[in-house]
Symmetry: C2
Subunit: 428 residues, 2 copies
């Protein structure tokens, strides 16, 4: 492999023709690969099938005697609060265990802030002329969609392997009282895999904010989703906020969507007791209570955090080879070409690939025409607009290993062809 | 039994002393009876225990091949849409099958109307100075709480056995564009048991409204919850709205909370295809999808509407004797006294008891002091304020039959004592 800049125009032309030939071969294969979403594969879902037997005709009472089949229990059954507070690193009085999705809880929290205010001292956000949110990018498209839907202005902020660009964040939030919060995925950030450093977490927890009701929306979606032997140990966001004297600053969200069943897991949110009391007050108007049977099912299946961690090791055995395949093929095909770089995450669900500027959309388009669907280029940026058009999110968990190998070979061909075209158009 | 007005003051004094003696005996019993909420009893919940086996390691795919364990399926799996569209009397394209509670869906629909508008032609309700809702009363406290939470002004409207006072409703909605809707429980209304007549449904569907985006929030919570042999057949609200040229006027809500498990059932909402498309558009920002495994579980358990109807007959066998006990004991104890009247519903979950004016709170207080908790008097009115203080909601389903007999005897004693006091205070 030789960097393109070191090839003369004939060599480049030969390479291009060879790549086009390979690309056309892919087209004739008629493959249909979907790597758009971070979905668990069937084998991963099989790991939790025994959970379906766990709540049954003999076992439907919670440990406090609550009949999980009946109404009640707004914030979850006690044993679910015990287990999942360990999961999120908080106490049982600092958690609400909910329905099947944390995304609903995130949206509900935003809606509460909009209509009622996020605390009792400050006005509902909807009363203000314009609310803004800081959105470290690339990030999770569904976080940004919640803001978009609520007409919240998003301020994209760069990310590196330690988290968001804190100098810029601190400068912005100090000055603008309309900036009411920031989205964070501190562990194995979606899609870059970044693990926020303790310093970043402490700066976010302690920074001066012009808005008195500034909130960190911390989506801890991948808190136990390790791919490496010695997973990083991270400062807990709520502890950091308490230590900084800002105990109400953070809401932490999590779920078992990528632990048990993506469609039938348990969602949860955590925060200071004061924050939880406020959310429960509002929740009481909206809900009679979550599906307690499904909470019981989860607790009976896992028993404790050791159970969850052992279970996650089985997930890792299934998906690690897929992540390795992406790394291996990209490295083999384009590793020496200096036309793209990609993350090598220690956990989570994604590999983030950065192309040359202005190339990502074209690459995704080419791949799609040959049968490989990728998350739309730009989807990981607010309003789906990446101004420099350079990011592609690769979701390796769902497809079978052999499909991933095919898909990455095809992707590498597309990356090269678009890079060669870029040389042609800039020199032409 | 002689009406109190036909007793001389000595006879009244003797009766009072006798009642006080009986009341005090109750107090010494130290009973603890809770008839506050319309909850199914454990025997009712037992009826659905086999459902917990229905989705299992062999059966987790929907009929279209969807893996119910994974993400996706915003509006429900096809077989759940089939079954529950029959349940609500609509077509599968007119329903969204959701999570474990229709109350959340009702609240979400209000929030959508507030923040985004309930159609694409009219402004979000929050942009208007004051939204008002018509609340037939007595009604369901949780409906009124949703309005209260969203600062929607409630206009109480009287009810009779055929539904709300339509002359008043028509007059109000014709004049006031801030009246954006009405709450309705058309079948076995909570708490009166009223079954809306077809004429009332047709008038609601067709009436002239000043607000262009007027909506009927129809909570069909008791659509299959019959207590009589020949249940009433009711005009479908969506059909009526279509026939009147107002297809978008109604949202219909329902759930299996009182069919399978109150805490782990399936909620649903229905309406015109246009309304469902709008709700799905908003839902896509808030949710990845409902618990499809629980939907599958329900469909496998019931198979079809015959399955649901057969199941509801078993519920009836359990709860009908409890309703009969309430009727029987009240009739025996105070039937001839003309100091209270109560409903004799053909279905649903409640008996509504009307006392003399200004007496309900005192009666509930006396009953509570002797160990019988009733739904707080007035709870069935907007802002929990019944201006004439005359309504008590009796929820007979949860307690065992022998407790109900005790409870009604105690209640009858309290009703008489308060009535005697009322004579004393008005003549004194």
């Amino acid at each position: 492999m030789t960097e393109f800049k070191n090839l003369n125009s004939d060599e480049l032309e030969d390479l291009k023709n060879e790549l086009i030939k390979r690309y056309d071969e892919f087209k004739t294969l008629g493959i249909q690969l979907d790597m758009t979403r971070g979905k668990p594969c069937p084998k991963q879902l099989d790991l939790s099938l025994d959970m379906l037997k766990c709540a049954n005709e003999k076992h439907f009472l919670a440990q406090d005697g609550t009949d999980c089949r009946n109404y009640g229990g707004l914030d979850g059954i006690p044993e679910a609060k015990d287990l999942f507070s360990s999961f999120l690193g908080v106490t049982p009085s600092e958690i609400i265990v909910g329905g099947n999705a944390s995304l609903n809880m995130m949206n509900d929290t935003f809606v509460t802030a909009m209509l009622h205010g996020i605390d009792s001292e400050n006005p509902p956000w909807i009363k203000l002329p314009q609310i803004k949110f800081i959105c470290p990018s690339p990030g999770y498209d569904r976080h940004f969609s919640i803001c978009e839907h609520l007409n919240i202005e998003m301020i994209p902020i760069g990310m590196d392997e330690h988290g968001p660009d804190m100098d810029t964040v601190e400068q912005l939030v100090k000055q603008d009282e309309n900036i009411k919060g920031i989205w964070c995925v501190p562990m194995y950030s979606n899609p870059t895999g970044a693990v926020y450093s303790d310093e970043v977490i402490e700066r976010l927890a302690g920074m001066e904010t012009k808005a008195k009701d500034f909130r960190i929306f911390c989506d801890n979606a991948y808190t136990v989703h390790h791919l490496a032997d010695n997973p990083p140990v991270q400062k807990n966001f709520l502890s950091a906020c308490k230590e900084s004297g800002n105990p109400e600053r953070v809401f932490i969200f999590g779920s078992t969507s990528k632990v048990t069943f993506a469609g039938a897991g348990v969602g949860m949110m955590a925060g200071s007791e004061k924050n939880m009391a406020l959310m429960k007050k509002h929740l009481a108007f909206q809900s009679i209570g979550p599906d307690k049977i499904n909470q019981l099912r989860h607790v009976l299946f896992f028993k404790d955090m050791d159970g969850i961690n052992a279970h996650m090791k089985k997930h890792r055995e299934i998906i690690k080879p897929k992540f390795d395949a992406v790394q291996g093929i990209l490295e083999k095909e384009i590793g020496a070409l200096n036309i793209a770089k990609w993350s090598n995450p220690k956990g989570g669900y994604f590999i983030s690939l950065d192309t040359q500027e202005g190339c990502a959309k074209k690459i995704a388009q080419m791949a799609s025409e040959a049968g490989l669907k990728l998350t739309p280029a730009g989807a990981t940026y607010p309003l789906k607009k990446n101004p420099v058009d350079c990011n592609i999110r690769i979701a390796p968990t769902f497809p079978p290993l052999e499909d991933i190998e095919l898909a990455m070979e095809l992707l590498a061909i597309c990356i090269q062809l678009v890079a060669i075209d870029k040389i042609g158009s800039s020199s032409g």
